[in-house]
Amino acid sequence: MDYFATVATIIVIQAIAACGLNVIVGYAGQISLGHAAFFGIGAYASAMLTTKAGLTFWQALPISLLISMSLGFLLGLPSLRVREDFLAITTIGINFIVEAVFVYTPFFGGALGLGGIPRVAVFGSRLGNSQFLALCAVFLAITLMICRQFTRTWMGLACFAVRENETAASSMGISPVRAKLSAFVLGTGMAGLSGALYAHYARFISAGDFGFPISISMLSMVVLGGMGTLAGPLLGALIIGVLPEVFRSLMDYRMFLYSMLLLLMIRFQPGGLLGEQSAAAGLLKGILNRRRASSA
């Protein structure tokens, strides 16, 4: 049970971050290869606030979210003025810089990281593993609701328009920078939430937890599940979270496998498993139809 809860919790936490990345990549069409930076900012913010400032998780959470969203705004402002491939490079840069700040600043615990992060307590009682899993699941549900709601707002529609065609979007009265920035801030906020949960789950964090490979694995989740779909990042997080548990012996080849997966998906299934013209969904439908036909 404990093993299950541990694996499930990390999957749920990563799914929250993947949902945030999906807002940026899937909804607004802006490639980000530095999502783990904001995951890390949320984690460090909550860790610092609870261990050094003595706040509780609940007091620290809004501040951590504010910090990750503000930094998302500040770092997004210059980044989102450049297009496509440059944005990919810029966001990689952000990831490395943020990681370096964590490693080389004694204030953030340096290379030793931050330990002694308290468990989350609700009404004075500390949550056990499965209770914490339930809490994370609630946050994931809230995240999904916000994502769904965002697609119904004018700003969400503006993001779709920018994703489809930036030139046309701007001649429809949309400021592309504003649309991209709102997606970026929302996405980094979700990464921050995920990070804060992660800090109190791991209870010890170091800069390595938020490196570039994590960004890649988050992007793999989004691409695998289906960019721009609601449940895609969830499915992606599930598959990529479960795979290493099943194939422990392949741990060393993880990055290689992620890259292969990304390449194959983009080449053959750019819409992802839950996206449009998905072979997986089509196959499933086909099987179901055949079953129905044979049982009738």
Partner: protein, 256 residues
């Protein structure tokens, strides 16, 4: 013309050493259809892009409704009431025809206070408004269809519908007739006249001479970035300089 809606004064757009548009001036009155003609590479689309805010002019002035509009970004021009279509269509392919139009209905939701942009666009009244515009361009029966699966004729209409959704006072049509067959051309011709009759000024780029001459109240002919001629369609089509630009020196053909 005292009531000029758009006034282009000595407009130049240079890309390095290339003078794509060179010292071009013209005016467009309220409720007028002005044809912008010229052979390939004459600078027509560059001129459009300067007016709609895509490229800042190198020199010269663009006055819209009496105000200097140089350097206003495309979304700013859209706010001022300038709608445009594209020579190479730029539809939002993943969205339905209705959603394409709704994007342009956003207006003030994309500007100003944040809470306004967090309002929902999935409302009956908004869908009805979009459907009304789709009806005008004759695409109502395809409102739910994804734009990515539509043929070029429908895409051109989607673009016009989107531009109309901005409630424009000036409509820029960049070759909205190209790639269409005869009945579609007739339909869009009628549509453009209808739009003009509702008080919208139209500036159109067109390669199809028959269409351009029939539709335009006046025409401006560009060649190599410079203004070659301006006047009524009948005057311009018999202008020897225009015939030469289209057919070359010594040609004895009829430009129209």
């Amino acid at each position: 013309m005292p009531s000029a809606l758009l006034c282009v004064k000595n407009l130049s757009v240079h890309f390095g050493g290339l003078k794509a548009v060179d010292d071009v001036s013209f005016e467009l009155g309220a409720g007028e259809i002005l044809g912008l003609l010229g052979p390939n590479g004459a600078g027509k689309t560059t001129c459009f892009n300067a007016i709609s805010g895509v490229y800042p002019p190198t020199s010269g002035e663009i006055l819209y409704d009496g105000r200097r509009a140089n350097g206003t970004p495309p979304h700013g021009m859209a706010k001022l009431g300038v709608g445009r279509t594209f020579q190479i269509v730029h539809p939002f392919v993943g969205l339905s025809a209705r959603e394409n139009v709704i994007v342009a209905l956003g207006g003030d939701h994309y500007r100003g206070a944040l809470w306004r942009s967090l309002a929902s666009w999935k409302k009956r009244s908004i869908a009805d408004e979009a459907d009304e515009i789709l009806r005008t361009v004759g695409l109502l029966d395809m409102a739910d269809r994804r734009v990515g699966q539509m043929p070029i004729g429908n895409l051109r209409r989607v673009e016009i519908a989107r531009a109309l959704a901005l409630r424009p006072r000036l409509l820029l049509l960049d070759e909205s007739f190209s790639g269409l067959h005869h009945s579609e051309i007739l339909h869009i011709e009628g549509l453009v006249r209808h739009i003009r009759d509702t008080g919208v000024s139209v500036l159109l780029i067109e390669h199809n001479m028959k269409v351009a001459m029939a539709l335009s109240d006046r025409v401006v002919v560009l060649d190599h970035g410079r203004k070659l001629a301006e006047g009524l369609p009948s005057e311009v089509s018999s202008n020897p300089a225009v015939i030469e630009a289209y057919l070359g020196r010594g040609g004895s053909g009829n430009a129209a």
